[in-house]
Amino acid sequence: MMTTKENILSPIGKEGVGPNEFGYYGTFGGAFIPEMLYPNVDQLKTRYLEIMSEASFQKEFRDLLKDYVGRPTPLFFAERLSKQFNTQIFLKREDLCHTGAHKINNTVGQILLAQRLGKKRIIAETGAGQHGVATATVCALKGMECVVYMGEVDIERQAPNVARMKMLGATVVPAKSGSRTLKDATNEAIRAWINEPVDTHYIIGSVVGPHPYPDMVARFQSVISEEMRWQLKEKTGSELPTHVIACVGGGSNAAGAFYHYINEPSVKLVAVEAAGFGVNSGMSAATTQLGRAGILHGSKSLVMQTEDGQVVEPHSISAGLDYPGIGPMHAHLYESGRGTFLNVTDEDALQAAFDLAKLEGIIPALESAHAFSALKQMTLNEKDKVVICLSGRGDKDLATYMKAMRV
């Protein structure tokens, strides 16, 4: 499909990229949920595509993306970075979205959906706090009550985002179980939904969770690659790059950046996971390297777990990648070989953040810094056209950057 700027009411997402009707991408996906969640998830499953294709929904979604989020986000040719790697590197500037990351593409979509489902109250989980802020933001915009679950560890390491959520009127509830990070925040949000199912919509922040969440979130984020296509065409004469690189926590910015290229076999899709202290250090979040097929948060995917099927506590310096699973779509990209999965350590991600700041005048989120460091592991030449999804900006990570003492 040709995607143009004028093509404002193009469908959100498209056929042939999503899962089958039961939510499966290959052998991954599904909806492994307790009966208490069935009515909500079933309602979503039955109605999401119909609601998303309504002209009034599309118009409101597109208008908000344009006037509120600030889309289209620029595609920036990074000249000095390109020179360093002897190739052509373009940055998809999701860091310039309102609230500072791609997360808001999804929350705008889901809040409009929640309104049309007659929901009164929103809950969400958050890791880095970017999804929490993006959710609190759209709740303020629409006058809805908002409760965000966040691991105690993350509340500490992402303090500025906690303050932002509070200022936006959200209640932030600390998740105190397990590793007290994103996985546990997600558990708490799901439990909260079980306890208040009727008027509440749960805005999941990544392409994880039971069907239809992975597909729904991927469709809302697909605007990223929809824009990349016409922007690249304007800049290079072709809609197709040779590589798209994105970091993967749950995988929503990667899903959005890959989406309209999944059926273009010439485009290499590079997903970058967080290796933490190193894949084999016991302190890592590189799910495809360390995980096996299992069920987490309502879908079958690759999951980091013990031999006995207990989910293990991951580690990443970046709260948004500190998750022991990946979305089922990515598990399928990995298993089918369509996606290339690399991983980057805490140390290397930090270095890449400092390099990008000095080279291009852009301070990236720690999550996005992982995608930049992957360049060092790739063989590229001057003819290649590489798009990196710069998923978010680094304001929230300044405390970590200052501790790293390279400034």
């Binding site: 039961f22 599904g30 909806a31 492994f32 949920i33 307790p34 009966e35 208490m36 069935y38 009515p39 179980s177 397990g178 996985k183 558990n187 799901i190 439990r191 079980i194 306890n195 208040e196 199912p197 009727v198 096996r292 097929a293 299992g294 069920i295 987490l296 948060h297 309502g298 999951v303 777990q305 031999e307 006995d308 099927g309 207990q310 989910v311």
Partner: protein, 256 residues
Amino acid sequence: MTRIEKLFSEKKQQKVLNVYCTAGFPKLDSTLEVMKSLQANGADLIELGMPYSDPLADGEVIQQSGAVALQNGMTIAILFEQLKEMRSIINIPVILMGYMNPVLQYGFENFCAKAAEVGVDGLILPDLPMYEYESEYGQIIKKYGLNLIFLVTPETKEERIRRIDDLSTGFLYAVSSSSTTGSNKDISEQEPYFKKLHDMNLKNPILVGFGIKDKQTFEAACKYTNGAIIGTAYIKALGNGKDVQMATKEFLEKIV
């Protein structure tokens, strides 16, 4: 006929008391002692929970008991080892309750085979949805002669309740209110829901669970149903550090 089916056919007029306990809690080797005490003090049925790191449907108390059990080293393999001689001392029905992931890692068919071998009668797998049951897992469960108990909630539509009743064997688990385990929502307010289930004349007996904590809530839950399930309140009683037998006796005395 499983022991569960026999129990309900024999106890037509009486109310059935099902008590939940967590395998490997409070100590790794408490499992059988807890089960023995439950049987000795009037439980009709035991729901034995297999601990999991991410129990989505459970409130804090049962989560905590699972965390302790995992800390104690409990695994499905160890549990089956502990249950090897179960049937020489336990004659009431036993149900294993657990989340899908550890069961899948053990191997679903292996798990069912082992469960049947040690004398388990049924399974409750709250995150096994109907679709997956029908397309893949149901036939394995049936092959080993185990009952599979599905859940219904106050939000479950009548037509779906009938489908779930069709697939369920042993009994139907009626979750008392929309909540995780151990909720404080008022049971007495749910009478119309229990009555509706009763009046639907379902194929399976109905046991009510979630939020049943004492004689009063037990009786409220049983008025229109075949019995009730106590979990959180018993785990709390066990967790107070008392001797298992004493704690169980004191707890069940007030209910049966």
